[in-house]
C-alpha cells in the first residue's frame, strides 16, 4: 500500500509511524518548556506590552527591568506580576518610566497578594491586550497589502542582502525585488545570536550582516511596501528569530510586520552552542508569537548538511523536519506557516548526485505536502570555480522546480568568495528564471518507476529516519543532541550559552502574554495570509 499520489511509493504506515515517533521524542521537551521560562521570554512579554528604548549605554529597558526584578523578587513568578504591581502602586505613567527608576535602584519590587495581585494582573492583561491588538492589526495589514498588490506564484524567489548598513541594504533590497525577488532576507550581523539583548535603533555597522533591531525592521518593511506597490507584487521580508533573544525578536517581527522568520528548534544548540533547554523554551514562545502574527517560519535543516555528509546524514534532515513540525504545530503554527528547510549539498563528485537530490527533495515534498518548503542552494561544494558553480546552481534550480519546492533561496556562483556583487545576484536570477521557464512542467512529467533508484533511495531515507526517531524516543532528545546526532556536533543539556537565564516556573507563575497565546479562543485559528 502506498500514499495516494505518491511518486515515491511511500508506505503510509511508515509515514504515520514517523510522525508518531516525533511526537514521542518531542513531548518531554514541550513539558519542560511549559514548566520553565527564560529571561528572554520575560523580556518578550515586556516588548509585547510595548516597552522599547535603551539606557545611555545602549542596554534595552526590557533587560534593565527584568534584571532589576530578578535581583529583588526573582523571576520564578514571572516578570509581569512584580512589574505591573510596581507600575500600578507606584503611579508610573508607563513601563519605560518604571524601567528607568528600576535601573537606578529606586523601585522596591514585591510579589503582591490578594487584591493587589488581582489589580496587577488586570493591568498586565490590559497592556498585553493592547499589544496583541497591534500584532493582529499588522497581520490584517499584510493581508490587505497582498490584496492591494498580489501574492507571487510559487516558488518564491528568496534573496539575501547583507551590507551591515540598513541604509545600504534598502536600495539593494529594492533592486533585488525589481529584478524578481519575492522574499528579501536581511542577514544579521555575525555574532548577534550570542548577544543577550536586542540592539536599538537604525544601525550602520555590522559584520557580514545588519543588526536585527525594531527600527531596522520598520525601515526595511516600509521600503519593501513602496516597492511592492510599484511592482504590484507583495515582497516579503525575512529576518532571524534565533540566538539568545529568539522570543524578543519574534515579538518585534510581529509588531513590525515581518513575513517570514528563520526559527529552528535546534540550530542555536548545534551551531551556536546555545544551551539546549534555553533554546527549546525560547523557541516555543517565539513560535507561539509567530503563529499569532501570521508569520511563516523557516527551519534550518540545510545547516546539518554543511557539517555532516549530505548522503549519509539525509535522514537526520527528515528527523529534524518532523521534530520541527511537531514543535511548530504544538505551538500553534498552521501547516502553511511551516517553512521546513533542506538543501542541495551532495558532492557533485558522487555518481548520480542529482538523482539522489531529486529523491531527497521529492521525499520532503511528499512528507509535508502543505508546508512552504524552503530549499537551499549548494554552498559546501562551491569551490571558487564560478562557472562550475553557476552550473551547479542551475541543477539546484532544476531540482527545486521539478519537485515543487515552495521557496527557493537563489544560489550565488560566488558563494564562499565574497558577499554577492550586484551582478552575481542578477546572474543568479537569470539562472532561476531560465530554469523555471524551460522546465516548469517537468515535475508533472516526472514519475520515477516503481522500485527504481529514486523510489528506493527515498524509502531508505525515510526508513533510516524512523529508525533514528525510535532511538531518540528511547534515549531522549536531549541525550541524542548531547551525543552529536545532528550535524555531528555534541551538545550536552547542561552546557552552552544562556543556561543561567533559564529557570523553573514557581506555583502561581504569571505570564499575561502566554495566556493570550495558549488559549486558542483568544489566539484565533491559523489563517491563510
Amino acid at each position: 500500500m502506498t500514499v495516494e499520489g505518491s511518486k515515491l511509493g511511500l508506505d503510509p504506515m511508515m509515514v504515520s509511524a514517523a510522525r508518531h515517533l516525533a511526537r514521542i521524542a518531542g513531548q518531554p521537551i514541550v513539558d519542560m518548556a511549559r514548566s520553565h521560562s527564560t529571561v528572554s521570554v520575560e523580556r518578550a512579554v515586556l516588548r509585547l506590552a510595548g516597552l522599547d528604548g535603551a539606557d545611555e549605554g545602549g542596554m534595552p529597558w526590557v533587560n534593565r527591568l527584568v534584571d532589576a526584578v530578578r535581583e529583588t523578587t526573582g523571576l520564578e513568578h514571572g516578570v509581569a506580576l512584580p512589574a505591573w504591581d510596581a507600575l500600578v502602586t507606584g503611579g508610573y505613567p508607563d513601563l519605560a518610566t518604571l524601567a528607568r527608576d528600576a535601573a537606578a535602584g529606586q523601585v522596591k519590587f514585591r510579589l503582591p497578594e490578594g487584591g493587589d495581585a488581582a489589580a496587577a494582573r488586570a493591568a498586565a492583561r490590559a497592556a498585553l491586550a493592547r499589544g496583541f491588538a497591534v500584532i493582529d492589526a499588522r497581520r490584517a495589514q499584510r493581508e490587505s497589502m497582498i490584496g492591494e498588490t498580489s501574492d507571487p506564484p510559487r516558488p518564491w524567489i528568496y534573496l539575501i542582502v547583507a551590507t551591515g548598513d540598513i541604509y545600504e541594504d534598502i536600495p539593494q533590497a529594492q533592486a533585488a525585488a525589481r529584478e524578481g525577488a519575492d522574499v528579501i532576507a536581511v542577514i544579521r550581523s555575525t555574532g548577534q545570536s550570542l548577544l543577550d539583548y536586542v540592539p536599538e535603533g537604525a544601525t550602520r555597522e555590522g559584520f557580514a550582516g545588519t543588526y536585527a533591531t525594531r527600527e531596522n525592521f520598520r525601515l526595511m518593511r516600509a521600503a519593501l511596501d513602496d516597492v511592492s506597490r510599484e511592482l504590484g507584487r507583495y515582497v516579503r521580508l525575512t529576518n532571524y528569530a534565533s540566538g539568545l533573544c529568539m522570543p524578543e525578536i519574534a515579538a518585534l517581527a510581529g509588531r513590525e510586520r515581518l513575513d517570514m522568520m528563520l526559527n529552528d528548534c535546534m540550530y542555536g544548540i548545534i551551531f551556536r552552542d546555545i544551551n539546549p533547554r534555553r533554546t527549546f523554551i525560547d523557541q516555543r514562545f517565539s513560535r507561539q508569537i509567530h503563529a499569532r502574527a501570521g508569520i511563516i517560519i523557516n527551519t534550518g535543516e540545510d545547516n546539518y548538511l554543511t557539517t555532516a555528509d549530505a548522503v549519509d546524514a539525509a535522514h537526520t534532515v527528515i528527523v529534524s523536519q518532523l521534530l520541527n513540525e511537531f514543535f511548530g504545530a504544538e505551538a500553534g503554527l498552521a501547516d502553511w506557516q511551516l517553512g521546513l528547510g533542506h538543501a542541495f549539498e551532495i558532492s557533485p563528485e558522487v555518481p548520480d548526485s542529482f538523482v539522489l537530490e531529486l529523491a531527497h527533495a521529492q521525499l520532503v515534498r511528499e512528507l509535508f505536502p502543505d508546508a512552504p518548503l524552503k530549499y537551499m542552494p549548494p554552498t559546501k561544494h562551491m569551490t571558487g570555480n564560478v562557472f562550475g558553480g553557476f552550473l551547479l546552481d542551475a541543477f539546484f534550480n532544476l531540482a527545486g522546480v521539478m519537485t515543487g519546492q515552495s521557496i527557493l533561496l537563489v544560489g550565488m556562483m560566488t558563494e564562499g568568495i565574497h558577499t554577492p556583487f550586484l551582478s552575481d545576484r542578477d546572474l543568479a536570477l537569470e539562472n532561476v528564471r531560465y530554469v523555471a521557464r524551460a522546465a516548469g512542467r517537468l515535475g508533472e512529467n516526472f514519475s520515477p518507476p516503481p522500485g527504481g533508484f529514486v523510489q528506493q533511495r527515498a524509502q531508505q531515507v525515510l526508513a533510516d529516519a524512523v529508525e533514528l526517531l525510535r532511538r531518540i524516543g528511547s534515549d531522549g532528545l536531549l541525550n541524542a543532541i548531547a551525543d552529536g546526532t545532528f550535524g555531528i556536533t555534541r551538545r550536552p543539556a547542561d552546557a552552552g550559552r544562556g543556561l543561567e537565564g533559564v529557570f523553573e516556573r514557581a506555583e502561581g507563575y504569571f505570564n499575561p502574554a502566554a495566556e493570550f497565546l495558549e488559549d486558542p479562543a483568544v489566539a484565533g485559528e491559523g489563517r491563510q495570509a
Binding site: F271, R272, T307, G416, D426, T489
Partner: protein, 260 residues
C-alpha cells in the same frame, strides 16, 4: 636575471587573450546610454591593459547599472623570474607518520585547541580542519590518534581562548577567520596574538602555544606582521596542518643510524 616571459593563452601561444566581467554605475536604456556604457567599459579595459578589447555582453541591471563581459588582449608581460611564492618549509606527511612522530618525539598526546574568535560565527573552516569528517578527502585532526582536539566552536573570546589554552596545556591553537568585512580577519589575528603575548618577542614562543590562523582571504606571507606563527590560506587540507604542527613542535628525527 630574467626568466621565461609569458602572456595569457587564449587559443594561440602569445595571443594574450583574457576575459573579464564587471559592473559600471551607468544606465543602459536609450541608444545613446548604451553607446556611452560600452564606451566606458572599453575605456576601463584599455586602462587595465586590455588592448584591443571587445564588449561581448552588456546588460542593464535596474535603472542605474550595467553589467559587462569583455574579452581583450593583455598588453602586459609576466616575468616568471619575478614571481615570489611562500615555499612550504615542511613536508606533508602521511597520517601514520604524523602519529608516529608525535608518539616518539613528544611522548604524549599533542593537544590542539581550535576556535572561531570574536564575532566570527563561521565554523566551516575550523570544522573542515578539525572534525573527523575532514575536508578534500582527508580526515580532520580529530582522526589522528595521537592528537587531542578541543574544538571550542564559534565566537570565542580571545582572552577565554588564552586561559582555556593554559588549562588544557595546549601545544597549538588553531583559529579560523572567515569574516573579512572591514578586515575583521586581520584584526582578529592581531587580537589573538595579543591575548597570548605573541609577536613581541621576535618570534620566540616562550611558554605559549603555537598560534596558527587560517581563512580564505589571508595572505600566508603575513604571519610575522600579524604576530602569529603560521597562516594558512584557501584550500588548506587537514593533513597539511597536521604536518606543519609536527614540523614546528617536534624536532626532526635524527637521520637513520645516528640513534635518537
Amino acid at each position: 636575471m630574467s626568466g621565461p616571459v609569458i602572456r595569457p593563452y587564449g587559443d594561440t601561444t602569445g595571443d594574450g587573450r583574457v576575459q573579464l566581467s564587471f559592473t559600471l554605475p551607468v544606465p543602459f536604456g536609450t541608444e545613446r546610454e548604451r553607446a556611452v556604457a560600452e564606451g566606458a567599459a572599453l575605456q576601463l579595459a584599455a586602462k587595465m591593459g586590455l588592448e584591443p578589447a571587445m564588449v561581448v555582453h552588456a546588460k542593464g541591471m535596474g535603472p542605474a547599472f550595467t553589467f559587462f563581459i569583455v574579452y581583450g588582449r593583455a598588453s602586459h608581460l609576466v616575468d616568471l623570474s619575478e614571481v615570489t611564492v611562500a615555499e612550504r618549509e615542511f613536508p606533508v606527511l602521511p597520517a601514520a607518520e604524523i602519529n608516529l612522530r608525535i608518539r616518539s618525539g613528544l611522548g604524549r598526546e599533542m593537544v590542539v585547541l581550535g576556535a572561531c574568535i570574536g564575532t566570527d560565527a563561521h565554523t566551516v573552516g575550523i570544522d573542515a580542519i578539525l572534525n573527523v569528517k575532514g575536508h578534500a578527502g582527508e580526515k580532520g585532526l580529530e582522526y589522528y590518534r595521537e592528537m587531542r582536539v578541543v574544538n571550542l566552536g564559534a565566537q570565542v573570546d580571545v582572552t577565554d581562548l588564552a586561559s582555556r589554552a593554559r588549562a588544557e596545556h595546549a601545544d597549538a591553537v588553531l583559529v579560523s577567520q572567515v569574516v573579512t568585512q572591514r578586515d575583521a580577519h586581520l584584526a582578529g589575528a592581531r587580537a589573538l596574538a595579543g591575548a597570548f603575548g605573541a609577536g613581541t618577542s621576535g618570534g620566540e614562543r616562550g611558554g605559549r602555544p603555537l598560534l596558527v590562523v587560517g581563512g580564505p582571504r589571508f595572505d600566508p606571507t603575513m604571519a610575522a606582521d600579524l604576530g602569529v606563527d603560521k597562516i594558512f590560506g584557501r584550500g588548506t587540507t587537514p593533513r597539511e596542518v597536521a604536518s606543519y604542527l609536527v614540523h614546528a613542535l617536534i624536532p626532526e628525527p635524527a637521520t637513520a643510524g645516528a640513534g635518537a
